[in-house]
Symmetry: D3
Subunit: 131 residues, 6 copies
């Protein structure tokens, strides 16, 4: 057991992904609980916890990569929330996605923008008073 | 003719890619000269010239995307030089590439790191006195 | 402002994509209005407006590429409509998609065929009298 | 007409994919009936019928590849059922998908695991008595 | 044995790919001779031999798809020769590749153009008198 | 520091990849030494060390995935050696690669077969007496 990496990873996952991260972990419980542990330990405990690169830039890099790959829509949405959680502005996020038109084509950029539109709308709904 | 976009794009291309950019443009002259014009006008004149995102972050986003896609080695190298030209540290570049192991797998990250190793070595060769 | 490219692009977008194109442009208005402009100017104003290749062949080439990439279902459907709009027969479209089994595998071709099935059914619905 | 390949392929398709295979074939009837024939003859009549590799390993290899590519969710689900039909354990399937985190990234592996979760749940529903 | 498909495929392979096709078949002899047979029978005997789509358009569709995928440079070159063999003009080929910048990004289009440049140069060398 | 995972991973890396694995680790020393550690710990210490799936099947799954992705030739070759090291027959390897023609297209399968041809030839060279 590697408690230190796990604790560091869990804290980082919560910092970045908030409830969306917890939801992913919970959804793995009955199919591959060990994968939830590995997901906390390696990406979050090992990679995101490294110094040398700002969390905002890390999240914008993920948004860039997942927009370009275009085959992981749920994870792109999680990281669009994550980018917002760590302080990226909507403009920064939109600019990164638009730029992907150059490197992965217009369809990839369009699908990234539509994902951002959905995430920003959720954010507005959460932020607005319910009464 | 759209001289303003072309001039703005050419200046931006030189700022980011330096001689590597000029080399790409020159190599298109006999196969598709119009594509050289479009490459200057759209990616560099339209996209890279937009406000709202730091050039350093733009280059790190490209390094992330091309590392993740893993099918455009020559352009990844051009942008590794570009990232250095606009002020990214070697550590920032290496961190972005390492992070891609999480989103596109270890082979993609390894090939990105080996490209960076080659680009940094070229940089060292250029920087060192020849006598 | 580059009115000539924009006007040429908008006319070409309407020629190829009809209402589907207008829908894409409208859906970008609140998330990235500049991207709608760039989408009209570069792909449609610059690329599709070029001589030297028949619009029918251009659309079949897009159907081939998006079927092979397999990660841009909404845009594939827009261009399946587009291919029909510029005069491609259903048989030509189906043949191009089937051929992608050779270059990108049977799953990519199957998903392309199912997209075509959906688009052709919409076309039949639109064409049939409602009374 | 090549009856032998077709018959061999149809038998193999039923052995591997059961009803899911028949459903794919049926769904091609009105869009591309020839493609249904080719799908039975080449993948199932030519490839899966070859000696030299166990059907269980063939199905795990497909699960690996479609998880890694990440752009063919319906076919991944068909082959998750197929892997079960030819005798792969749930553990073997989950291990192959988890391993893809190393080669295609965590999002690809997560989406593969969620597909397996869905397929295993369907399997449980089918297996349980309805009264 | 399926002599008719094989003969039809071999004739089609020679019509499209000429010596490059024979070279691919020969290079498979010691690693996977059966795959050479399957390659002749399915892509060339079954797919390329179908009516309903012009061979020129078939080759331009392959050029589009392989340029967009960006991970099969040797096969792209074979089909650039193939496109020329069946009568596509250099301009048509270049236009299809340029168009891929819209659907798969500028790096994919650039690498496609550089492949075309190489193929056209080989063509010029072959065509010029050797004395 | 996590000595147990590292030791377990290093032993597994040597079991699977032999000298090729050591070469990869050594080549990372001056560009990203931490990545060498992560590569030993996560893929080899965490994933390959798991029970529930035979090492032979794990290697065939990697060969399938990297052949299908088609964008990581050096890593495919390392794992073709790895598959042989853990006991896969040449026939099993060739069958897995041929099968990828169905899921990722003939170019991907061809490039996989040519990589196998190269790896098997190196193997023959190593095995033959030098005097």
């Amino acid at each position: 057991m590697n408690n230190e990496r796990y604790k560091r990873g869990l804290a980082k996952l919560e910092e970045i992904d908030g409830q969306a991260g917890e939801h992913v972990i919970a959804s793995l419980k009955d199919i591959a609980p060990d994968f939830a542990t590995l997901l906390i330990e390696f990406p979050f405990g090992d990679i995101y916890s490294r110094p040398g690169l700002d969390l905002k830039v890390r999240e914008l890099a993920v948004v860039a990569a997942l927009t370009a790959l275009g085959n992981a829509a749920p994870q792109l949405k999680v990281h669009l929330h994550g980018a917002r959680n760590v302080g990226c502005s909507r403009q920064e996020i939109v600019e990164v996605i638009m730029q992907m038109a150059v490197y992965a084509g217009f369809p990839a950029a369009l699908n990234g923008l539509f994902a951002a539109k959905e995430v920003f709308a959720q954010e507005d709904t959460m932020a607005s008073p319910t009464t």
